[in-house]
């Protein structure tokens, strides 16, 4: 059994009573990393995994075309870490999903998850899905046929987790504490990243590398438009050919469509096969929205979006008035 007994029981009950049609959550994927798992039967609950290494883009499956096709009304239960409840809030506020379709099983006391790329880089000889224990400020990794290795937490934490300031679900139908939970240590809070002030040259170097696979869009839980402008041929907003100019236009459109909505979950960056620092962009955008409008996405399920409402007190509202409108 990979999840605590009480949680296991709860999930099985949800499924066997027919209260939810499926449970969505993280599981062990191939090698040392997680994958999303969808359990439709009580037996399938066995595969869930709450190890900090089992981190996966679970929420994107809520709004995918496949999910929409699935018989709609009965709720889905979601195993959600605190930051994921923030994303759920955002999705609710956009009415991409409805509250009564959702049964949120919040995971409390989150101290962050491991970035499997960092782990692989640190321990390239690792095979399979290792045991991970948390001991103070270190992760202890016990791989197949390997001596346990201690690695400082902040060397392995996913970027979105360093500097994360929520450790409890923002809302839930049920909550379960993660094993070994402990408050974030001072050392970790310190490594919160400064929003980037890199100049254009830096970004040109990055965008030049983009292969326009659109994985960043497909991985984003908030990119759920059925008919994305970036796929449209008439008009073709961004030509298909890959060049610095087109790649930049592609990223700017993507980022602008997410401004004020993006929760800096970092799934785009995780998905990028050529390591573009997309979370840096996301954070910059989040910071701008905060400074300009005092808005923070995903903290209010009823929240109105700064980019879709007009307020005369908005910074650029003054300009309109001066122009006599």
């Amino acid at each position: 059994m990979s999840v605590p007994a009480a949680l296991d029981r709860h999930l099985r009950d949800l499924l066997s009573s027919g209260q939810v049609r499926c449970v969505l959550g993280p599981a062990a994927g191939c090698g040392p990393r997680g994958t999303a798992h969808l359990a439709r039967t009580p037996e399938a609950v066995d595969r869930f995994e709450l190890s900090p290494l089992a981190c996966a883009n679970v929420l994107v499956h809520l709004t995918s075309e496949e999910a929409r096709r699935d018989d709609a009304r009965r709720p889905v239960a979601v195993l959600a870490r605190p930051c994921e409840t923030r994303m759920l809030n955002q999705l609710l506020s956009e009415r991409a999903i409805e509250r009564d379709e959702l049964h949120v099983v919040g995971l409390g006391g989150c101290r962050g998850v491991i970035d499997s790329r960092k782990l692989r880089e640190r321990l390239p000889e690792l095979r399979g899905f290792p045991e991970v224990r948390e001991e103070g400020d270190t992760f202890v990794i016990e791989g197949e046929g390997m001596e346990p290795v201690s690695v400082p937490r902040n060397e392995l934490l996913l970027d979105r987790c360093s500097g994360c300031d929520i450790s409890e679900p923002l809302f839930h139908d049920h909550t379960f504490p993660l094993a070994d939970a402990a408050p974030t240590s001072a050392a970790e809070a310190e490594c919160a990243p400064e929003p980037s002030d890199e100049g254009w040259d830096y970004w040109a170097d990055q965008f030049e590398r983009c292969i326009r696979c659109y994985a960043c869009r497909d991985a984003c839980p908030l990119c759920y438009c059925e008919d994305c402008v970036l796929d449209r041929l008439r008009p073709m907003w961004v030509p298909r050919s890959v060049s610095l100019k087109n790649n930049t236009a592609y990223q700017l459109i993507r980022v602008l469509h997410l401004s004020g909505r993006c929760t800096a979950c970092g799934e785009c960056e995780q998905a990028c096969p050529v390591d573009l620092p997309l979370l840096t962009l996301a954070r910059k955008m989040e910071q701008e929205m905060r400074e300009l409008y005092g808005a923070r996405s995903g903290f209010d399920p009823e929240g109105r979006h700064p980019m879709s409402v007009f307020d005369p007190n908005d910074p650029e509202g003054t300009d309109f008035e001066e122009q006599g409108r």
Binding site: C30, H37, H61, A215, D218, P239, S241
Partner: protein, 352 residues
């Protein structure tokens, strides 16, 4: 021909190679590595050159089968147009540091793009005379499984020259006429750093090959697969197998043997290019018809198409169109594992 070159002289060899031909080498680029052109006057990127360790994340496919390639140029006039054909690639391309799996990947691409029906002129002219200098893998990557699909970390199929890493030196062996010609030309250069191979280096070479084979980390038994695929097409299992997939297409963009492309006209003013650009069969839009019909509306169907294409339809010379490079496994953002899928398909037995 066989020759040996001291590790510290590889830069000199590359400089000679770059003087002769258009040379491409794998370098670290902040995104896991790719092949870039190296000019004779460029300094050889010492730390960035990806000759030991594992393969570049982006396969060398893009050097010969460019992600964006113009098919022709055109000029629009009132109710009319004229077409300018573009000159074919003239320079001979030498790719130094091709992994054996990627070398075999070009074999697959050849069968698809220089195929029975038509020939892609841009690929054909880039491929014409190209020399693939392979480098064996002393330390295979974490998801490599070339030995399960007919390859080997020092496999020669598809390559013109194979380099074996002997630690302090590289051992080079030509495998084709093109490779022989290239290696002789390098050896004949006045400042050539090549020295003849000898029985001792041959022996070390064999040992390195043996050792590397044992280090390939992953394995899958494809023997039973074909018989299952024969029956499994209409099975329910594909939607389940694809459940975690987010349809992002990263797997196909990194695959050394995927070649799906789109064709688009890109116009500025009254001039433009018709270009072919990589596409992915993992995208819903790929088969979406203008009239609204889509023969492959579900992700499971698209996965099934890719899977069959790699392991059954695209197979040639009795080998699958997957060369086991492991990229689609390592870099799938959703943790979908091709090997695991093969095993689950086999397990299902194609129960339909």
């Amino acid at each position: 021909m066989k020759a040996v070159i001291a590790r510290e002289d590889v830069g000199r060899l590359l400089a000679i190679a770059a003087r002769r031909d258009e040379l491409h080498v794998p370098v670290l680029d902040g995104g896991g590595g790719r092949f870039v052109p190296l000019n004779a006057e460029d300094p050889v990127p010492r730390d960035g050159l990806m000759l030991n360790g594992s393969s570049a994340r982006r396969p060398p496919k893009e050097v010969l089968f460019a992600q964006t390639a113009p098919l022709f140029a055109f000029e629009l006039r009132r109710g009319d147009f004229s077409i300018d054909e573009l000159p074919p690639e003239a320079a001979t391309k030498v790719l130094f540091g091709v992994r054996p799996c990627d070398g075999r990947g070009f074999r697959v691409l050849d069968s698809l793009l220089l195929g029975k029906c038509g020939t892609d002129p841009a690929y054909a002219s880039a491929r014409q005379g190209s020399v693939l200098v392979g480098i064996g893998c002393g330390r295979p990557g974490s998801d490599c499984f070339c030995t399960s699909v007919g390859g080997d970390p020092h496999g020669t199929d598809g390559l013109d020259v194979l380099a074996t890493d002997l630690g302090d030196a590289l051992h080079l062996e030509s495998l084709t006429d093109g490779g022989e010609g290239w290696l002789r030309a390098i050896a004949a250069a006045v400042d050539s750093p090549l020295t003849p191979a000898n029985p001792e280096t041959d022996q070390r070479c064999r040992e390195a090959h043996e050792e590397a084979r044992g280090r390939v980390p992953r394995h899958v038994d494809l023997e039973p697969l074909d018989a299952v695929l024969e029956r499994a097409f209409d099975d329910e299992l594909w939607d389940d197998l694809a459940a975690a997939c987010i349809g992002c297409g990263a797997c196909t963009f990194l695959c050394p043997t995927c070649r799906c492309f789109d064709v688009q006209d890109e116009v500025r003013g009254d001039r433009g290019l018709r270009v072919r650009v990589w596409d992915s069969c993992m995208f819903r839009e790929y088969t979406q018809e203008a009239g609204g019909h889509n023969p492959r509306p579900r992700r499971g169907m698209r996965w099934r198409n890719r899977f069959y294409d790699k392991f059954r339809w695209g197979a040639h010379d009795g080998q699958p169109a997957c060369v086991g490079c492991g990229r689609c496994i390592t870099h799938c953002p959703s943790g979908v594992d091709l090997i695991d899928l093969v095993e689950r398909v086999v397990e299902s037995g194609g129960a339909a």
